[in-house]
Amino acid sequence: MNLLDKLFEKSARRVAQNSSRRGMIKALGAAMVGGAAIPLLPVARAADGAPEAPLRPGEAGDPTSCDYWRYCAVDGFLCECCGGSVNTCPPGTEMSTITWIGTCRNPVDGRSYVISYNDCCGTTQCGTCLCQRDEGDRPLYRADKSNDVNWCLGSKSSIYHCSTAIVVGMAFEE
């Protein structure tokens, strides 16, 4: 059992993880390597206005599951399990205005999208649906791509609650 499984085990609601996480990540990683992409802007996404609530028709998968396509570079509790959704924060929290991004491939249309992982802040840790994927994640020296930072740093409260995964644009293929 690896770290992720152990942390999941601590959660009251265990998200679906039917296959080996390492195997899953390897498969997704291989898919990503071939489609290296240039990310777009990393910051100030939430300040642009409220994200669209419904998932678009051109998507498939379970947003409560860690292997959902948008979560390729996520590391945190999924807001989808915490009273929010893949692109909204739970009631009573505040969406961070600065964040990190990933570039994830949507299996339905084959395109790569820039995903903004805005944290939701101000309430103690959600504590369920922990998901760590790390594809394209980089250490702190690339802050725009680092999921190790507590991105609630720019919010009224620095208390981290959960993470969203918001489509903010298509990635430019190199």
């Binding site: 770290l3 152990k6 103690t124 840790q125 760590q132 020296y141 690339r142 409260s157």
Partner: protein
């Protein structure tokens, strides 16, 4: 308190304990500390024995100023309740579970920690909101003594005009200067900088910007090196007054997108060894006033590279006093698995640029530390979030430590 009141208090406490099944006769075995459960023996009271001596109330234990070699300081990140983080002082060789913990210090909101190598001080950089998760945030540097784990001083960060780095714990989010006189603390809001604290006066001397560069790798007597977003390294030279003296840069030596390195080096005798995601070791000499790049060498043979062996984990590098570099290794790695850990620890002679041994882990490994001294211990945070302890030289498994009041021990520090 008068004797009658004291007697009443003791009786009331005994009643309460009894009602919760904690009285001596209650049959509740503590399986976690099973070696302390003595076999049931009928005790026959002997009134002829002398009464017990009167004991002193108010005694608090202390620790040695130099912790024994087998001790470590476990950074309990408390990822599920971040306001309840702590540092746990732990003896890895103590066989009795109930005797392993030597003390604790609070560490709020994924705080950062560093020990002074010679002073009777250690430092925790942490944060609080006024009312739990609400109200004004305070970043606070808490200075503790090693012997009493007592708070010596709190230094509030407001005057710096910035925020301390709040991220998963790093060995080099704080650093002691080479001359031992200054503490460097990384800031990130997301503008990067570091704050200089004078350790004689316990006062902030300056906050110095490091645009695009993060973390505080101690360099020379009073310099700080930081890794930059373009793959270069910035050295900030600090004057004797604690102010910025000069900035020097190493040219980019890796590509942050295509050939990234881990920001978690082991610094051995002033030489920093940074493994890359795919197993190239980059060497930076930090022994002088300004960091110098000393090139790179492959950590993997062609066959190992073909099998996609990779360094991996959360805080997965360290060194022993014999100069060896330790890293958790993962077989069959890929993009995205760089922080997931692995099933082996590989040990290198970094001067000879060769691997000297492999240690197979019985459990998946996430983070590690190596203790100081002639007989170093290797401690690995395993996938069950317990601590597996090994003889670092022979690789022999010694014991697994759990039940230490820790849920997410993601970083372990050797006792200095």
């Amino acid at each position: 308190m008068k004797l009658t009141k004291l007697t009443f208090a003791i009786s009331a406490a005994a009643l309460l304990l009894g009602s919760y099944g904690c009285a001596p006769e209650a049959e509740q075995a503590d399986t976690s500390h099973a070696d302390h459960v003595a076999p049931a023996v009928e005790i026959v009271a002997d009134p002829s024995l002398p009464p017990l001596p009167i004991e002193t109330i108010g005694t608090v234990e202390t620790l040695p100023e130099r912790y024994p070699e087998s001790w470590v300081l476990v950074d309990e990140v408390s990822f599920f309740k971040m306001s309840a983080g702590k540092i746990i002082v732990l003896d890895l060789l103590e066989e009795k579970p109930a005797r392993r913990i030597k003390g604790m210090m609070d560490k709020s909101l994924i705080g950062n920690f560093v020990q002074h190598p010679t002073r009777n001080e250690q430092y925790i950089m942490e944060s609080f909101h006024e009312r739990g998760s609400r109200g004004k945030k305070f970043d606070v540097l808490a200075i503790y003594d090693k012997t009493g784990l007592n708070l010596i001083k709190e230094i509030f960060w407001e005057e710096t005009g910035t925020d301390r780095l709040q991220a998963l714990p790093e060995r080099y989010s704080m650093a002691i200067s080479g001359d031992g006189k200054l503490l460097f603390v990384a800031n990130f809001n997301p503008a990067a900088s570091f704050t200089v604290v004078d350790l004689d006066s316990h006062k902030i001397l300056s906050t110095i910007a490091t645009p695009g560069c993060v973390l505080t790798y101690p360099t020379g007597p009073r310099s700080v090196s930081s890794l930059c977003s373009n793959g270069s390294m910035l050295t900030t030279v600090v004057g004797s007054d604690g102010q910025l003296q000069s900035r020097q840069r190493i040219a980019p030596f890796f590509d942050t997108d295509t050939t990234p390195i881990f920001e978690r080096p082991a610094i051995i005798n002033g030489i920093a060894y940074f493994p890359s995601f795919t197993g190239t070791m980059h060497v930076v000499d930090m022994s002088g006033e300004v960091a110098q790049y000393r090139g790179s060498w492959p950590m993997l043979s062609e066959a190992e590279a073909a099998d996609n062996h990779r360094p991996s984990g959360l805080s997965f590098t360290d060194y022993d006093d014999q100069g060896h570099f330790y890293t958790i290794m993962q077989a069959d790695g890929a993009e995205g698995t760089q922080s997931h850990g692995g099933h082996q620890v590989w040990v290198y002679d970094p001067v000879a640029q060769r691997k000297v041994r492999e240690i197979d882990l019985p459990n998946w490994g996430i983070s590690l530390a190596v203790t100081r001294g002639d007989k170093p211990l290797l401690v690995v945070t395993n996938g069950e979030l317990q601590l597996d302890v090994f003889d670092a030289v022979s690789g022999e498994y010694i014991q697994t430590i759990s039940d230490i009041g820790s849920d997410t021990p993601l970083l372990i520090h050797k006792a200095l």
